[in-house]
């Protein structure tokens, strides 16, 4: 125990030398928690405006956060070893439910994404965002790293199976996100650059066939719209034109909280969900964007730090993957709203309204906290 405490990076760690801090005992990573709380508060503030001063929406979101924080704290109490032990079973269970979705799933807008059990609906693909990296990390953790070719292939299979099942729902965004979370594990495990460059080359080379054979018309339309929103001003281009207008008209200063005309006057669609960053940018200006990006960056850096400090390769790989996946959310959402990327259904993490992504993300942070506070036990 004392061993561990001496390793604490804090200045004040000398005072705590005798016994572990409360934060330690409850497996809470204080800097991460503080950053998340600031982000949550900022997000709720923006949501109040984005939802048209709907206090109900803020309370609903607040409840999601309460649940999510509870899950995070509970998740942090579970030992990393247990996560590792659970990983293959969770993976099998997850793939099983994805198969079940294929046959018994319910959905909307032509996509089958939900399972309904006893009136409770849930989206198995969402859980897979955590389970897939857990499974890949579990698989690689037992092997020498960087992984050998066969293990890479096996890992890719672990990633590919659920990704393919989700792709056919169809839910391209989630499939890509899950694939990415698995691949991030491989990347952090240190696979050779030849694999990485090979994969990049393959991706570039397959872009054209993918355009022809894989992408559906509406997906192609989204890409075309991103490239030239003016081509369909009132249709597909409307969202992106209005979100760019909202962002641009915010300027450096912003129009002020609750003063964003684009969202208040309904010009901005999905203003409280996927496009909420546009409201933030409109009302709080580039200053507000800078603040948000800074918060995200600090969370990311904390995540990376936790990974570097982790004592087991399992913890390292999980921390790296969770952190990078979180970054993908930020990058894809901010990029699509600003017209840099095609519009896919990726929320702005911890700010967009909606309970599912909040719960998944916070559960991920729970695992991160478990990693950050459990290295002692792993190192024994």
């Amino acid at each position: 125990m004392g061993d561990y405490v001496r390793q604490m990076p804090h200045q004040g760690s000398q005072d705590l030398a005798r016994r572990p801090s409360a934060a330690m005992r409850f497996h809470i990573d204080i800097p991460l928690l503080v950053l998340l709380l600031i982000l949550t508060a900022y997000g709720l503030l923006v949501l109040y405006s984005a939802s048209g001063r709907d206090m109900g929406a803020v309370i609903r979101q607040g409840r999601y956060f309460l649940v999510a924080y509870a899950i995070m704290i509970c998740g942090a109490q579970i030992s990393l070893r247990r996560y590792m032990r659970w990983a293959p079973w969770l993976y099998l269970l997850g793939v099983g439910t994805l198969v079940a979705v294929m046959f018994f799933g319910v959905g909307a807008k032509g996509a089958q994404r939900w399972l309904s059990i006893g009136g409770f609906r849930f989206q198995p693909s969402e859980i897979m965002k955590l389970v897939v990296p857990m499974a890949v990390a579990w698989y690689l953790a037992e092997r020498t790293l960087p992984p050998r070719f066969v293990f890479v292939i096996a890992s890719l299979a672990l990633v590919g199976l659920p990704a393919a099942l989700i792709l056919q729902q169809p839910d391209l965004g989630t499939a890509l996100l899950i694939a990415a979370s698995g691949l991030f594990v491989l990347f952090m495990a240190g696979i050779g650059w030849r694999y990485i460059f090979g994969a990049v080359l393959l991706a570039v080379a397959s872009a054209w066939p993918a355009w022809i054979f894989v992408l559906k018309d509406y997906q192609k339309q989204r890409i075309l719209t991103m490239l030239d929103p003016e081509s369909d001003k009132l249709g597909a281009g409307w969202n992106i034109i209005q979100s760019k207008t909202a962002i641009g008209s915010g300027g450096w200063q912003g129009k002020g909280w609750l003063q964003g005309t684009q969202s208040r006057l309904d010009f901005l669609p999905e203003s409280h969900t996927d496009f909420i960053i546009a409201v933030l940018a409109e009302e709080h200006g580039l200053r507000g964007v800078l603040l948000l990006v800074s918060l995200y960056l600090l969370i990311l850096l904390r995540g990376f730090w936790i990974g570097v400090r982790a004592q087991s390769s399992y913890g390292r790989m999980m921390a790296g993957s969770l952190t990078l996946t979180f970054f993908v959310y930020v990058f894809v959402n901010m990029g699509m709203v600003a017209g840099l990327l095609p519009v896919v259904g990726v929320p702005l993490p911890l700010v967009s309204a909606g309970g599912t992504s909040i719960v998944t993300l916070m559960a991920g942070f729970g695992i991160l906290m478990a990693i950050s506070t459990e290295k002692r036990m792993v190192s024994q």
Binding site: R143, T144, L145, P146, R148, F187, M188, A189, G190, L234, G235, Q242, K244, T245, A246, I247, G248, S249, G250, G251, W252, T261, Q262, L265, D266, F267, A281, E282, G285, L286, V289, L290, V293, Y296, L297, L300, L301, F304, G307, V308, S313, R316, M317, G320, T323, L324, F327, V330, F331, M334, G335, A338, G339, L340
Partner: protein, 613 residues
């Protein structure tokens, strides 16, 4: 060679991991920089562009159409007012699929082909954020249906608008004219900025003549509206300036008396107050309900009006050009006296016909077929006017010659537009040798002078011109441009004065004598009018031939088809000593002047004695 290392090497793994973390952080920072630079370029570099675009989204400049000026008669009776009416409009910018929306709307309210045509034409010219009207005059039920479906019809608006209404539509149809929807040609002619938000414009008559002052000035407001086009608040407002209210000289009592007296006959009545030049009545029958035109007349209604044999759309009072017949005789008499060719005592022999020297053709007097002889062995001016003796005026015309006749008649307003303040007036014809040369490229024949002397032949006059001539006569040479407009916003407007006709007082008296005798004389051609009359009136009857009658044929009213009967004319002014009204009346195919003269009595009675008569 990784294959050789079978054991886990935590330190190496940790090293590799740290290296990968560094790379990952570098990539994250790089991509965040890309994102941030994108936001920077949107929010700083292109700030002005998006700022403008967001303002344009939010703020809309809405035209506030002015209230059209009201029109009153001289008694303050409202002749044209504005009533609220509901319009269905579409804002193109807010509509995703215009065809779909139009189809949905057509399912909710009836929309005709003409409505759609009009809409499509307007759509070309209006800005995308402006409301383009699709249907006018929504009923209560239609409005309710639209309100219920409003949520699924973004960009569809129902607006209230003031619409012209004519409480006495048919009575004043030709006197007032009407407004109608702005058509394509007008849209190009009108100043677009003045007419933004206005859908109607004066088409004919007073409504058109005074369009610029009736219309008013358009106002504007900046409104904040949401993406669905709903106006949330007014940011700034520049009120429109309403059009001015017009008071006309027209008198609804006289107008009504004239219309009632004409009954179902085709004809026209124009009454002028010679003291002011104000037009007291301007009637052309049949009329039509001008309200039909305000919002686009249905094609059935329109073809009925257009194809009617009675041409109700034709304003006989100012467009109808008729041979004035004997109604020119008082003016001819003045010409004879003023030229010195005759004195009141000068008489000519009257066998019932007249012959030009060296010409065997007999120019018959109308009395010949009734009595077989002339009016009297010798006829002087008074009797010539009273009994409408043609022979006297044949002789006078011959001696005067056509060109001098033209010069003496011109001051009465013949041969050119009177300039009355309404539209579509026609000039009539006052013949002269020059006129015939220019209009017909022919020489003037002496016989034509005789026809001209009794108002036949080439001479044509509108009832308005006859009323003006009568007014000049009644005011002893005072000439004014006839005016319908009496006052603007309560401020009186004077009729433009023209150079007066200077003539000897005794000459006026001599002609008045004759005109008095027409009504009050034993043998006056309108002596029936004198029965029970409470004032003295000067008048003159006239008959205009519709078809030519062969040299020796006799015109028999009963045998001639109704549409070939002579037009009956009558001019009059009263009271004789100080005239306050001058009237001209024509009854188409009335058979003779007796169809017209009783109308004059009713009109003048109404003016002088009030409605009681």
């Amino acid at each position: 060679m990784p294959e050789l290392i079978a054991l886990k090497d935590p330190h190496r793994e940790s090293r590799v991991y740290s290296a990968r973390t560094v790379i990952a952080i570098a990539i994250v920072l790089g991509l965040l920089a890309v994102i941030f630079s994108r936001y920077y370029s949107l929010q700083v570099t292109e700030y002005e562009i998006y700022k403008t675009q967001s303002e344009r989204n939010r703020v809309q400049l809405q035209p506030l159409p002015p209230k059209r000026g009201l029109i009153y008669d001289r008694n303050g009776v409202l002749l044209a007012d504005n009533r609220p009416s509901y319009i269905l409009s579409v804002v193109r910018e807010r509509v995703a699929d215009l065809d779909d929306t139009l189809a949905e709307l057509a399912a909710l309210v009836p929309i005709s082909e003409a409505d759609l045509d009009n809409f499509q034409k307007k759509l070309q010219r209006r800005r995308p954020y402006e409301a383009v009207p699709l249907r006018f005059r929504l009923t209560e039920k239609e409005r309710a249906r639209l309100a219920v479906n409003r949520y699924r019809l973004p960009g569809v608006v129902v607006e209230a608008q003031l619409l012209r209404h004519y409480p006495h539509g048919e009575l004043f149809s030709h006197a007032l004219g009407y407004v109608g929807r702005i058509n394509e040609r007008e849209a190009f002619e009108l100043d677009e900025s003045d007419y933004r938000g206005t859908f109607h414009v004066g088409k004919v008559g007073v409504e058109k003549f005074y369009e610029d002052i009736l219309h008013g000035e358009v106002g504007y407001q900046n409104v904040e509206s949401n993406a669905h086009g709903r106006v949330l608040r007014v940011l700034e407002r520049f009120a429109p300036v309403p059009g001015v209210d017009l008071t006309l000289h027209l008198d609804i009592r006289i107008q009504r008396a004239a219309v009632e007296a004409l009954g179902d006959r085709r004809g026209a009545v124009v009454a002028i107050d010679p003291r002011t030049g104000g037009v007291l009545a301007l009637v052309s029958t049949p009329g039509f309900d001008t309200n039909l035109f305000v919002n686009g007349i249905s094609s059935a209604d329109y073809s009925a009006l257009r194809d009617s044999l009675d041409v109700p759309l034709f304003n006989r009072a100012i467009q109808g050009q008729y041979p004035p017949g004997s109604t020119v005789k008082p003016m001819m008499g003045m010409a004879g006296l003023e030229s010195g060719l005759v004195t009141p005592e000068t008489s000519v022999p009257d066998p019932g016909w007249y012959k030009l020297p060296g010409d065997s053709r007999r120019y018959r007097d109308w009395i010949l077929r009734i009595r077989g002889t002339g009016h009297a062995p010798r006829v002087a001016l008074k009797m010539a006017i009273a009994e409408s003796c043609d022979v006297y005026f044949y002789d006078l015309a011959r001696r005067l010659t056509i060109d001098r006749m033209h010069d003496y008649m011109q001051p009465y307003g013949f041969g050119r537009r009177t300039g009355v303040d309404t539209t579509n007036e026609r000039p009539g014809v006052l013949p002269s040798t020059r006129w015939k040369r220019e209009a017909m490229a022919q020489a003037w024949y002496p016989g034509e002078t005789l026809s001209a002397g009794i108002g036949q032949g080439y001479m044509l006059a509108t009832p308005m011109q006859l009323a003006v001539a009568t007014s000049v006569m009644a005011s002893k040479g005072q000439r004014k441009t006839p005016r319908l407009l009496k006052a603007v916003n309560g401020e009186p407007v004077a009729a433009p004065l023209l150079e007066p006709l200077i003539a000897d007082d005794s000459n006026w008296a001599s002609v008045y004598d004759g005109m008095r005798e027409v009504v009050h004389g034993e043998r006056g051609t309108a002596k029936k009018l004198a029965k029970g009359i409470q004032y003295e009136m000067g008048g003159k009857t006239g008959t205009a031939q519709v078809i030519g009658i062969a040299q020796n044929a006799v015109y028999n009213e009963d045998e001639v088809a109704e549409r070939h009967r002579h037009h009956g004319l009558f001019i009059a002014f009263a009271p004789l000593e100080a005239p306050t009204i001058a009237v001209a009346i024509i009854v188409e195919n009335g058979g003779g002047s007796s169809a017209a003269s009783p109308i004059a009595r009713k009109v003048i009675d109404t003016w002088l004695l009030g409605e009681a008569s």
